[in-house]
């Protein structure tokens, strides 16, 4: 499919939408699994619905430049509303649907939200809870009417009601919507995404139509995506990646997005759709593999033998075959056989049979995990980007996949490394600014127009970018040696048994770590060894589990000592937390990044115990249960030393 010229006809999202309605009106644009079957909307139908929504908003007094909040799981009508808002020159502001009411309060107030579209009763209830602190909120529209029978507030509207109103408005004001669409410019703000903020308050990142369209087009051309792709839209709509894949790229190419039935059915729906283009954060790929391995351990001896034999074949030559490198004929034949017996059926079970390109990002991915997927023929690649860059900075080119780097600068993007090691980025996909925060905007874009990512990194000999850590987290140990906590934590998390890790060491004499075990992987490990346990906290306190984790920590230490300049960052002491770190308790952001400062404060007594050489420590902490109640959880945690190794030729 030839690259689309950036003409005026298709330089904003509304204009792209109406372009597709004309050029491929009967092609499926969106699907949603509802009542057990996949319901579909064509581009023509989507355009009609968007028109109805936009006119409905106009009827209710929506003005050019207004912000509209969108809160819910991935639903076609929520995506349609984003386009509808853009038609009128407004800005959609998606929020994380699993945030609690007071977390949403800040964003809703900051963005001056007058209009909101939410998915269902649960979200409506959250907004009603804080309504009196939102004097600006005038209209609350909901998509799913279930449970809404007794709500009679005048500012609540069913989306069907809104669309009916809109159709009448459209009849009474013909041409009005088209005029509004024509008024829109490529440099207008197309969407506002709030950064999750590991420190400080979230900021609204304003991204123009042009920014996202450039980023989308760049990725589309890089991977040769066409209108025939099918993707699964299951990641939060508030996350920049989902906006890039499910909205921007879909609008740019005309491919189909598929919304799963519910959070629990995602894996099943993945199998049913068989996407051709897929994104998942590393932990999803890790979970998939862990489940496969657990089920393999239950299989018969013959099946296990076949599996392990062909996985060895794949490890030897799979990645090379995928990269198009030369491979001996016998290996190729064996691989072909492996495809029939193992890799094909495996990909089918995972739902990844039709995947031509798969991306992962957001956290580092373990090299073994990465190698596994590539070796069975899934073209898994890494990308690097932020909310402020439309998730578009570096992409790994086909055939040049390295496990420990994030690829080369994407088409149209300039990347350079500042003197202090910070990664700087420039290109059309940059944010226009932070909403009502000219100070923050000025701080993040330097005089030459480069955005300061806040990440530290360097280019390797092949021009691939390697990320070390968040620039401000990179510090020094007391002795002056470099200390990069994320880097160490990633190495720990590469083990399937470790779900989360937090290391401490800035300005200290040695590095110590908190570990969260992965319940699925460690639970399975324990069961196979006949170790009984009564729950997460109990399992996390077992001696055998401590031994298992100790081996992981010591393995990481051997890797660190081999990397020369990080030898002093070896982990000397560690403990296993009795409860998982959780966004609901404020310990992680909604995108599951550790809030370092908060965790250090909350668990200060444990950090002191680690550095004081204690072997156990009692701790009581506040937690939030899933029904909203707070409680305290107490435990006596064991602290262990880990073996660390001297650099060759030195004594510790």
């Amino acid at each position: 499919m030839p690259a689309m010229a950036s003409s005026r006809a298709t330089d904003t999202f509304p204009r792209l939408l109406f372009y597709h309605a004309q050029v491929r009106g009967e092609k499926t644009a969106m699907r949603e699994k509802d009542l057990g079957i996949w319901q579909a909307w064509t581009w023509r139908e989507v355009a009609e619905h968007v028109r109805a929504l936009a006119c409905g908003l106009a009827e209710m007094g929506f003005q050019r430049g207004d912000n509209l909040a969108i809160i819910g799981d991935n639903r076609p009508r929520l995506y349609m509303m984003m386009a509808a808002v853009q038609c009128l020159g407004g800005v959609p502001v998606p929020l994380y649907q699993d945030a609690v009411a007071h977390e949403m309060l800040f964003v809703l107030q900051d963005a001056g939200i007058r209009f909101a579209l939410v998915e269902d009763q649960e979200q409506v209830d959250k907004l009603l809870e804080i309504k009196d602190q939102l004097p600006a909120l005038a209209h609350l529209v909901y998509d799913d009417p279930r449970g809404m029978r007794h709500y009679n507030q005048p500012f609540l509207h069913d989306i069907a009601e809104l669309m009916a109103m809109g159709r009448i408005h459209n009849q009474n004001h013909p041409g009005l919507l088209d005029a509004e669409v024509a008024r829109g410019g490529a440099d207008d703000i197309g969407v506002m995404l709030y950064t999750s903020g590991t420190t400080g308050k979230p900021k609204g990142v304003c991204l123009t139509h042009n920014a996202f369209i450039s980023a989308a087009r760049g990725g589309v051309e890089f991977d040769r995506l066409t209108a025939d792709e099918d993707i699964l839209s299951y990641l939060p709509m508030a996350w920049v990646g989902d906006h890039l894949f499910s909205f921007a790229q879909a609008m740019v190419t005309g491919f189909t997005i598929n919304c799963p039935e519910s959070g629990e059915t995602v894996m099943n729906d993945l199998r049913e759709i068989g996407p051709t283009y897929y994104f998942a954060p590393p932990r999803v790929f890790e979970n998939l593999l862990t489940q496969v391995m657990i089920r393999m351990e239950d299989a018969s001896a013959l099946k296990q033998a076949i599996f392990h034999f062909f996985m060895r074949v794949a490890r030897r030559s799979g990645a090379d075959i995928l990269d198009g490198k030369s491979v001996p004929l016998t290996q190729r034949l064996l691989y072909l056989l492996g495809n029939v017996f193992v890799y094909g059926p495996l990909k089918n079970v995972l739902g990844l049979s039709r995947v031509r390109v798969a991306y992962t990002a957001g956290a580092a991915i373990g090299p073994d995990l990465f190698r596994f997927y590539r070796s069975i023929g899934i073209n898994l690649k890494q990308l690097y980007g932020q909310t402020e860059t439309c998730a578009y900075v570096c992409l790994q080119p086909d055939g040049q996949i390295k496990f420990d780097s994030v690829g080369k600068p994407a088409p149209g993007v300039e990347v350079k490394i500042a003197d202090n090691g910070e990664i700087l980025v420039k290109g059309p996909m940059l944010l226009k600014g932070y909403y009502k925060r000219p100070d923050a905007t000025a701080e993040s874009i330097n005089a030459d127009g480069y955005f300061m990512t806040g990440d530290a990194g360097f280019f390797d000999d092949d021009g691939h970018l390697k990320i070390i850590d968040r620039a401000k987290d990179v510090g020094k140990l007391a002795g002056g040696a470099m200390y990069a906590p994320n880097y160490i934590e990633n190495k720990l998390k590469f083990f399937q048994y470790v779900k989360e890790a937090v290391v401490f060491g800035a300005n200290r004499e040695m590095v110590c770590a908190f570990i969260n075990i992965d319940l699925g992987a460690v639970g399975n490990w324990a069961e196979r060894r006949g170790i009984a346990y009564s729950g997460y906290a109990d399992l996390a306190a077992r001696q055998e589990v401590y031994q298992l984790i100790q081996e992981c920590v010591e393995q990481v230490n051997t890797e660190l000592v081999a990397e020369g300049m990080l030898a002093d960052s070896q982990i000397h002491r560690f403990l296993i937390l009795h409860k998982e770190l959780d966004p609901d308790d404020g310990e992680l952001t909604r995108t599951r990044k550790v809030r370092r400062g908060f965790v250090a404060e909350k668990y200060a007594v444990l950090i002191d115990a680690l550095y004081a050489g204690r072997t156990t420590q009692y701790i009581v902490i506040q937690v939030k249960f899933e029904d909203g109640r707070s409680g305290k959880v107490a435990a006596d945690l064991q602290i262990r030393d880990a073996k660390h190794f001297p650099l060759l030729g030195q004594t510790v």
Partner: protein, 261 residues
């Protein structure tokens, strides 16, 4: 609870007595159930609650007494008549087909609404095919209502107990009943599961106006969601009224906590 008006009496039980040989399961029980209400039957173990439910939907036939349902008086209820007249129930120990999927189990609840006969259905002839579609849609709506989409193709035997109970409820709902008899729907559930089940029961009562008769041991649940309560003890009725009235009845207290010696 709002928007729901409790109507007239639709079920009236008069002087019901049930015996199994020498064992008197129920002795001279009389109470009524109003339309759209949530009526709880409580009592210590062995009080005759399940037997009472079985009498209502025709599984047991009382030796004495009369049942007046929707104005029609009868000496006994036949179970297939009860089903056709809109009474659906769930069982204490789960009576689902363990080898069939959730979807198929719920489909069996549509039996009373199926017009095509056995042969037509077996070969999907004519109206059987069209009916299947309509029934499937209704079943999917029930699945959506009870939030069990993720297990629709799972064989019931593989599900945890709490979910099996939900599937039983789904099957009962698929019959579009006017009256729902629930036998200990929350037994064996943890707090979260109980909250979910309460929510569903209240939603059914509120959204579809279904009259609910439920047997339950969890006093908190009973007091919270019932409109009226009947208390049985050793097969006799010892209390009948709103939760508050029943809670303060000294005979009821004695039955549960025992008498001072």
């Amino acid at each position: 609870m709002s928007g729901r008006k409790i109507g007239d009496v639709i079920l009236d039980l008069q002087n019901i007595s049930l015996r199994f040989g020498g064992v008197k399961a129920l002795t001279n029980i009389s109470f009524d159930v109003r339309e759209h209400e949530v009526r709880a039957i409580i009592g210590p173990n062995g009080a005759g609650k399940s037997s009472m439910l079985n009498v209502i939907n025709g599984v047991y036939h009382p030796q004495e007494g009369r049942i007046n349902f929707h104005g029609e008086e009868r000496r006994r209820m036949e179970s297939h008549m009860a089903a056709r007249q809109g009474i659906a129930r769930t069982f204490q120990n789960i009576a689902l087909f363990k080898g069939m999927t959730v979807l198929d189990n719920i489909m069996t609840g549509r039996l009373t609404k199926m017009k095509a006969n056995f042969l037509e259905q077996a070969i999907r002839f004519g109206r059987a095919g069209r009916e299947e579609l309509a029934h499937r849609r209704k079943v999917e709506e029930v699945i959506d209502f009870l939030e069990i989409q993720h297990i629709r193709k799972t064989p019931v035997g593989r599900l945890p107990y709490g979910l099996q109970k939900r599937v039983e409820l789904a099957r009962a709902l698929a019959a579009e009943p006017t009256m729902l008899l629930l036998d200990e729907p929350m037994a064996g559930m943890n707090v979260e599961e109980k909250q979910d089940m309460c929510r569903f029961i209240l939603d059914v009562n509120d959204q579809f106006g279904t009259t609910i008769v439920l047997i339950e041991h969890d006093m908190g649940v009973v007091m919270d969601i019932s409109d009226r309560v009947v208390v049985l003890d050793y097969g006799k009725k010892i209390g009948d009224g709103t939760p508050d009235v029943v809670r303060n009845n000294p005979e009821v207290i004695a039955a549960y906590l025992g008498v001072a010696h």
